[in-house]
C-alpha cells in the first residue's frame, strides 16, 4: 500500500497521524465533566488549536534543527512576522483567512531568506547568536519604535475603523470574526455523550488539516534526497564540501522552509485569534520552540509535535489548578491529611506550573535521552515484547523507529 509517494510504512504512519488529529476532540476529553479530573481535559477549541499550530511551528523548526543541526535561536521572529502580516490582511483586505495565511507565509519566507542569508555565513554557536540577535532586534523594535506597525505593547488588533476593502459589509458597530469563505473560525458544535462534552471547532479542524499537510510535506522532505543532503550537512560538513556540494544553499533552503512553517503557524495563530503581540518574537518564545523540539526528540518526525503539546498542556492546564481545585479533589480525605497533601502539591501547580515544567525537562533529558519519542518507543517495545512472548511464531524483530 503506497500513497502520495510514500512507502508502506510511512503511509501507515501518516494515516495514524491523520486519525489522531481528527479524533483529538475525543482523545483530549477523556474525563467526565462532573469528575474532579475534568480539570485535566484539554479538548476545548483554543488549546486544541494551539496544539496544532505549535505542532506546525515545531515541525518546521525540526526541518532546520533536526535535519541540518543548525540551532536557530530566533525562530519566533518568523512566527511574529507571520502574525503581524496576517492581522494586517484582516485589517486591510478581508476577514478570510486564506489571503492572510498566504501573506504570512510569503513575508516570513522573505524575512527568513534575509536573516538566513546573513546568519548562515557562520556555523555552530556563532550562527545561533546571529539568529538570536536578529530576533531580539525585531522584538525590541516591534515593542517600541515600530508601534505604528505593530501596536507595540498591546499587540496589533482589529478595530471598528479598519477598511477591510474586500468585505465592506463587515463594517458595522461590532467586530467581524475570521472565516474561511463564510465558515467562521470560532464556530463550533458540541456533542454530549457519557457525561462528556466533545467540542468540534471549525478553527481546530482548519488548523488540523493544515497541520496534516505540513506534516506530510515534512515527511516527504525527511525521506527525499534533499532531506538526505540536509542530514549529511548535520553529520559532516567537511565531507559534504568534498562531495562537491556547497552546503550553504541547502542550509538556506532548510532555513527558509522552516521560517515559512513558522510564518504559517503565526498566520494561523492570528486566524484563530486576531491579535499579534510582540512577545511572540521574544527570545523566550524562540527558546520555547527549541525546548519543544529537544523535549520531543530532535530529528524525529513526531517528537517536536509531542514536545509542543507537552509544553502547551502544562502552560494551559497546570497553571489553572489552584488551591480551590485541590480542595475539591481531596475533599473526601480527613482534614489533616487533606491539608498536608495540598501543602505538598501546592508548590507544583497553579502559579508553580513553571516549577513542574522545569523538573520535567530535567527528568526527560536525564532518563529519556531521545526525548518523549523514546518514551513512546520504549512503551511500544514493551508491548511488542509481550506480544512476541504470547505468539512465539512472531519472529520479526521490531526495529521500526517510532518517528
Amino acid at each position: 500500500m503506497t500513497f502520495l509517494g510514500l512507502n508502506e510504512r510511512d503511509t501507515r504512519f501518516l494515516l495514524i497521524v491523520v486519525a489522531l488529529t481528527m479524533f483529538t476532540p475525543f482523545l483530549l476529553q477523556p474525563f467526565a465533566e462532573n469528575s474532579g479530573l475534568a480539570q485535566f481535559n484539554a479538548g476545548y477549541p483554543d488549546l486544541m488549536q494551539r496544539f496544532a499550530i505549535y505542532g506546525i511551528f515545531a515541525i518546521g523548526f525540526n526541518i532546520l534543527f533536526g535535519l541540518t543541526g543548525y540551532l536557530s535561536f530566533g525562530h519566533a521572529a518568523f512566527l511574529g512576522v507571520g502574525s503581524y502580516s496576517a492581522v494586517w490582511m484582516f485589517k486591510l483586505l478581508s476577514m478570510n483567512i486564506i489571503p492572510a495565511i498566504i501573506l504570512a507565509v510569503i513575508v516570513s519566507g522573505l524575512f527568513a531568506l534575509l536573516i538566513g542569508f546573513i546568519s548562515l555565513r557562520r556555523t555552530g554557536i556563532y550562527f545561533s547568536i546571529l539568529t538570536l540577535a536578529f530576533a531580539q532586534m525585531s522584538f525590541n523594535l516591534a515593542y517600541s519604535v515600530l508601534t505604528p506597525i505593530t501596536n507595540g505593547e498591546t499587540g496589533l488588533q482589529l478595530t471598528l475603523s479598519d477598511p477591510r476593502i474586500l468585505d465592506p459589509e463587515s463594517i458595522t458597530n461590532s467586530l467581524p470574526s475570521t472565516s474561511l469563505f463564510g465558515l467562521e473560525m470560532n464556530d463550533s458544535a458540541q456533542w454530549e455523550v457519557f457525561g462528556r462534552v466533545f467540542t468540534f471547532s471549525v478553527g481546530y479542524y482548519v488548523c488540523a488539516v493544515i497541520a496534516i499537510i505540513a506534516f506530510y510535506i515534512s515527511l516527504r522532505i525527511f525521506r527525499s534526497p534533499f532531506g538526505l543532503m540536509l542530514r549529511a550537512i548535520k553529520t559532516n560538513k567537511t565531507r559534504m564540501a568534498y562531495t562537491g556540494l556547497n552546503t550553504r544553499p541547502y542550509a538556506l533552503a532548510a532555513f527558509v522552509i522552516s521560517g515559512m512553517y513558522a510564518g504559517l503557524a503565526g498566520g494561523l495563530l492570528a486566524s484563530m485569534d486576531p491579535l499579534a503581540g510582540a512577545e511572540r518574537m521574544q527570545w523566550t518564545a524562540s527558546g520555547e520552540v527549541v525546548l519543544m523540539t529537544i523535549l520531543g526528540g530532535a530529528g524525529t518526525l513526531m517528537g517536536p509535535v509531542l514536545g509542543a503539546g507537552f509544553i502547551k498542556y502544562f502552560e494551559n492546564i497546570f497553571s489553572k489548578i489552584n488551591d480551590n481545585v485541590l480542595h475539591g479533589w481531596f475533599a473526601f480525605m480527613p482534614d489533616g491529611l487533606e491539608d498536608a497533601l495540598i501543602t505538598l502539591i501546592h508548590p507544583f501547580v497553579g502559579k508553580g506550573w513553571h516549577l513542574t515544567l522545569g523538573m520535567l525537562f530535567m527528568l526527560v533529558v536525564i532518563f529519556l535521552p531521545g526525548g518523549l519519542v523514546e518514551l513512546g518507543q520504549r512503551i511500544a517495545g514493551l508491548f511488542r515484547r509481550r506480544k512476541a512472548e504470547d505468539r512465539s511464531d512472531d519472529g520479526s524483530k521490531a526495529t521500526t523507529p517510532a518517528e
Partner: protein
C-alpha cells in the same frame, strides 16, 4: 566632551557586570564546552545570597508597643533585630548596614559548594551529551532554581542597599576641571568596577600562574592526553565549575545594591551573557572580558540623547547590532579559538 566621558564611565560599570558574568560563563561554556543556560540562575543565586544574609542579620524578636496600632487596629508589633540586641544598637546597626559586603564572605563557600553539587550531580553526566540535551537540562534547572527562589522570596524585588558610607556619588567632573555635577558617579558603582577588575585579574592570574590553571588549560585543549598523563582532570573540572559559580555569584552579590534582586534577574542577564561570550569568541577568557566592556560602553553611548535623536530606538538594539557586525567581520568573535562550538 563631559557627556562622552560620563558615558564611558557608565559603560565601564555596565561592562564590568557583563564581563564578570561572561567570565564565569565562558569558563563553563567556552572551555568545558557545556551550554549552561543555568548561568543566569547562578548570578541570581549570588544576589540572593546577599538577600539571605541580610535577612539573617535582621532576624528579629517582637515587642508589643501598646501606644501604636497596626492596620487592623491591634497593638503594633515592633521588630528589633537580634544583632542589635546582642551588639547594641550602634554596632548592630553597623553590621546590618554592611550586610552586602559581608555577604561576599558568606556567598563564596555557598556558591562554590553549589557549583560542586551542580557539576557532580548533574553536569558531569552531560559532558558527552549533545548540546541540545545540555540546553534542555540546564534550562530546566534554571527554571527550578528560579521557582524555588520565587517560592521563598516572592516575585517582588527585595531592596539590599549598600552601606551608608557608599551612598551618594563622587563628582568626577570637578576633579577633571569640568563644572560641578557634569560627571558624577555613585561610589558603589566605582566599587563594583574595582571589585570586578580585581576578580577578573585574580581569575586570570589563577589560571595563568598556578599548576592547577596550567592543567586545566591543557585539559581544555586536549582532555584525553591530559587524562593519559595520570592527572585527574575530572576533579579539576569540578573545581573549575565551582570557580565559575563563585565568580557568577560574586557578580550577583555585588550587583544587589545596584538593582534590587528579584527571582527572574538571571533570565534577564542570560541572553546578554551568551551574546557577550560569543562576541568575545568561544574559548577565550580575555575575549569575553573585552566584549563585556565593549558592549557595556557602546550600550551607554547608544542611550545618549544626541544619538537617540538621530537613530530612534538604537539603544534597544545596539548590543545585538554590534554582535552581528562583529560576528560577520570576525568569524570567531573578537578572540575566539578555532573549532570550539563551530559544529
Amino acid at each position: 566632551m563631559d557627556a562622552i566621558l560620563l558615558q564611558v564611565l557608565n559603560g565601564l560599570d555596565k561592562g564590568s557586570a557583563y564581563a564578570l558574568i561572561a567570565l564565569g560563563l565562558t569558563l563553563i561554556f567556552g572551555t568545558l564546552g557545556v551550554v549552561n543556560f543555568a548561568h543566569g540562575a547562578l548570578f541570581m543565586i549570588g544576589a540572593f545570597c546577599a538577600v539571605t544574609f541580610q535577612k539573617l542579620l535582621t532576624l528579629s524578636y517582637i515587642t508589643i508597643d501598646e501606644t501604636r496600632t497596626d492596620f487592623l487596629g491591634n497593638p503594633l508589633e515592633v521588630k528589633s533585630p537580634y544583632v542589635e540586641g546582642w551588639f547594641g544598637p550602634e554596632t548592630g546597626g553597623a553590621i546590618i548596614d554592611w550586610a552586602v559586603p559581608l555577604a561576599i564572605l558568606f556567598s563564596i563557600p555557598v556558591m562554590v559548594a553549589f557549583g560542586f553539587v551542580m557539576e557532580r550531580g548533574l553536569i558531569k553526566h552531560f559532558y558527552k551529551r549533545p548540546h541540545a540535551d545540555q540546553i534542555l537540562v540546564t534550562f530546566g534547572l534554571a527554571i527550578v532554581l528560579q521557582e524555588i527562589v520565587k517560592y521563598f522570596f516572592g516575585a517582588n524585588p527585595i531592596p539590599t542597599p549598600a552601606p551608608d558610607a557608599f551612598r551618594g556619588s563622587l563628582d568626577f567632573g570637578v576633579l577633571l576641571g569640568f563644572d560641578p555635577n557634569a560627571i558624577i558617579y555613585p561610589y558603589w558603582r566605582l566599587i563594583y568596577f574595582l571589585f570586578a577588575s580585581f576578580i577578573i585579574g585574580a581569575v586570570f592570574a589563577f589560571l595563568q600562574f598556578t599548576t592547577f590553571g596550567m592543567v586545566v588549560r591543557a585539559g581544555m585543549a586536549d582532555r584525553e592526553t591530559v587524562g593519559l598523563l595520570g592527572i585527574n582532570i575530572d576533579k579539576r573540572f569540578t573545581l573549575m565549575f565551582g570557580l565559575a559559580a563563585a565568580v557568577a555569584g560574586l557578580a550577583g552579590v555585588m550587583y544587589a545594591p545596584i538593582n534590587s534582586p528579584n527571582y527572574h534577574m538571571g533570565m534577564d542577564f542570560l541572553v546578554l551573557s551568551f551574546v557577550v561570550v560569543v562576541v568575545g569568541g568561544m574559548g577565550s577568557l580575555p575575549g569575553a572580558v573585552a566584549a563585556g566592556f565593549l558592549l557595556g560602553i557602546l550600550e551607554s553611548f547608544a542611550s545618549m540623547n544626541e544619538i537617540k535623536s538621530i537613530l530612534p530606538g538604537i539603544d534597544q538594539i545596539i548590543i545585538y547590532l554590534v554582535a552581528i557586525v562583529i560576528l560577520l567581520t570576525r568569524p570567531r568573535g573578537l578572540l575566539g579559538r578555532k573549532g570550539v562550538m563551530e559544529e
